[in-house]
Subunit: 426 residues, 2 copies
């Protein structure tokens, strides 16, 4: 029986679980691949640290030497980041190795170049773990739905922000307290920017939209808003509307074939299946012409779930290697225009603090009329010092809705800045 | 560009949608396969009936002639049934064609023989559509989780029975009325036996358990109970316990490596994600050692969703054909013992009508003690003519629980037959 050699780049939370399950699931891996898989080396930045479960003779400080030694069949890249990872993956390809990566930033930024390099060297590139952890999403999009036409992907793809928003909703906490709890539990990093400002979700949205719509979406084409501006008052206002706030990745294919890709917090009705996704779980809705609505749900991060996805890809690329073929590569055979967020058709929920005097409501209504925005529902609450006006609009383009909100903010009767949140999934 | 020829066997609800989407999604199919796909013939039982959307010169009454003509690359089998389908699929293999089937009865009964025949002829056999319609389940089990160890699959895999049970629960209907409604809406067939008695779900459970646990499960090894005995009183009793009744397919891998596979109605807590699966939808929970809990959800039947799954498989087998390879075939490399249902560890909810006299409760408790069954909760309601006793047990083997229920039924104080339902997902 043949033995395939695997090099592991990175031995942090994910890498050490990859190494663990490579050993623990060895009988299954051997049977399913039809060959033995041997861990040939583990590249780490600090070779002097203890790595429980990894034989010390496999630890290598020189990642370049490991990927270029010439006998490696598959390189597993779980170091993260872009430049160094790109360099190592490129060297792995050039030395005949297929690559399995869990690195969404790398794939979102360099997917096209990496697919081209893999193709040029006749090897595979796979990255199921880069989006939604253990949840099978990229393979179903690329293979199960290969005979269908995907029209929308709507998902919760960042566990950190879902944890924070879930705590704000269920416990009534404000954002700083929920963020602190997420940090204490290890869901958020010391610098949480990549998660809370939506960069992580935007990278995943770019990958998913590209696959779903057979095109290329650059990360700078993804409209991105984070959750750091969401307040306890926003969460309460959403609840009062029978909604929760979730950070959503929304990838849409328009009837004209163009696409929109965006990541932002949005209000979602409690009846929507994504509304009940708690804690740090991920869930993704996919709509396709023939299949209808599908949902995929599971743990979106963590060492073991990510390792599960990595090893699933490993089995595929090993099988391909034994058969002397490569699997389906880059699927970006369409050149679709990525439209700006202003072209998205959506609904807004707007909260305004206004003076308590006659005529205010008609001024507000006039502004909305002038912009062609139609009101679905409106509620006015009288306080000690004025009124709070909450309104939900009917559907319009984001450009129209946002300029209407801006015009509302300019009314003298309106105090402070209007709060506006998109409403999705209704 | 090469052209691959496809023969379609059957042109009913599913077949006509397959033909429709073959044409409608032609640009996607061509780009994703890297070859054109040509519908070369459609075998039907009644060649004289009109087939909208299918060119009349493609209609063939002689299915044998179609699959044996020698130039067919892929045969799509959606005629259903076992003997005739088996015969045709075997002939297709022998004449060099790969086969995509949506036929769970065929795969459950003849999967081993068919996989062997496909392998012998160097062609592919795929059947994603056979379980849970458009919901990607078999491919994720076989590929995405190929580096993991699946321990449990728990699913709602029959839409007809889910529709009936959902109506009984939400509208308070009795079984005959809900069945009638399911028939009127086309969810149930004129003879609903295959669905309501669990035969359809059992075939799917056999396929899923085999794939999940790398083994072979014969359909007669699946413990099977249908829903035709479920009463409005059962549904109400479940509600009173904060549960709904669902027809579940449960595939478990025990710590000793043996497996249990069963289909039966069970009470599921309302908090369980499967409890909120409404109408005729399907949903499947998968538990794996590294991945944790995953859920897959979507339309489990219907022409278009089934066609989506069929065409996804078509793309895969066409790609393989172009590459001159076959995909992963039979995965039954383990010989696992399928344990009888008596060995399953579960919980029961039992309802008894008993005489309203002192000492009855202690008689009941004595029977349970004697069987080693521990009570988790107990409720007694006094009626005009006796008492109704509801009790939930702690976990025990099904053999122990069922013999305790039998012994309870033999008590003179117990009137009629005790009602017992398993409680799962708690």
């Amino acid at each position: 029986m043949r033995t395939l050699k695997v090099a592991l780049l990175g031995c942090g939370v994910v890498g050490s679980d990859v190494a663990h399950y490579l050993a623990a699931h060895e009988p299954e891996l051997t049977a399913r691949i039809g060959a033995r898989v041997e861990l040939a080396g583990v590249a780490v930045r600090r070779a002097d640290l203890p790595r429980p479960g990894v034989p010390s003779h496999l630890i290598a400080a020189d990642a370049d030497a490991l990927v270029t030694r010439g006998d490696i069949d598959v390189v597993i890249e779980v170091i993260g980041g872009t430049d160094r990872a790109h360099d190592l993956v490129g060297k792995a390809f050039a030395h005949g190795a297929s690559v399995v990566s869990a690195n969404k930033a790398l794939i979102a930024a360099e997917g096209a170049a990496l697919h081209a390099a893999a193709r040029a060297h006749g090897v595979d590139l796979r990255y199921e773990a880069a989006v939604a952890g253990a949840v099978p999403l990229l393979r179903p999009l690329r293979e199960s739905l290969a005979g269908d036409r995907v029209t929308r992907v709507l998902g919760i793809v960042n566990g950190t922000t879902n944890f924070i928003l879930d705590r704000m909703d269920s416990a009534g906490w404000d954002y700083p307290r929920a963020l602190k709890e997420a940090m204490a539990l290890g869901y958020a990093e010391a610098d949480p920017t990549a998660d809370v400002e939506g960069h992580d979700a935007a990278a995943k949205a770019a990958i998913v939209a590209g696959l779903a719509f057979d095109t290329r979406v650059r990360i700078d084409e993804v409209h991105r808003e984070g959750i750091s501006g969401i307040t306890a008052a926003d969460t309460a206002a959403a609840r009062a509307q029978g909604c929760v706030i979730k950070l959503l990745a929304l990838c849409d294919r328009r009837a004209d074939g163009d696409v929109t890709v965006r990541v932002h917090p949005a209000m979602l009705p409690l009846s929507h299946p994504l509304a009940s996704v708690r804690d740090a779980f991920n869930a993704v809705f996919v709509e396709a012409e023939a299949a209808g609505q599908l949902m995929f749900y599971g743990p979106g991060a963590g060492g073991a779930p990510t390792a599960s996805a990595v090893l699933g890809d490993l089995v595929e690329v090993c099988r391909n290697r034994l058969a002397g073929v490569t699997g389906s590569g880059d699927t970006a055979h369409e050149q679709r225009r990525v439209r700006p967020v202003g072209d998205v058709v959506t609904r807004y929920h707007v909260t305004l603090d206004v003076a308590d005097r006659p005529g205010v409501l008609s001024e507000v209504a006039h502004v909305l009329d002038r912009h062609g925005v139609s009101v679905e529902s409106l509620r006015q609450e009288r306080g000690d010092d004025g009124c709070r006006l909450s309104l939900s609009t009917h559907r319009a383009t984001d450009a129209v809705l946002s300029s209407a909100v801006e015009a509302l903010g300019a009314l003298t009767a309106v105090r402070g800045v209007p709060r506006a949140l998109r409403v999705e999934g209704a």
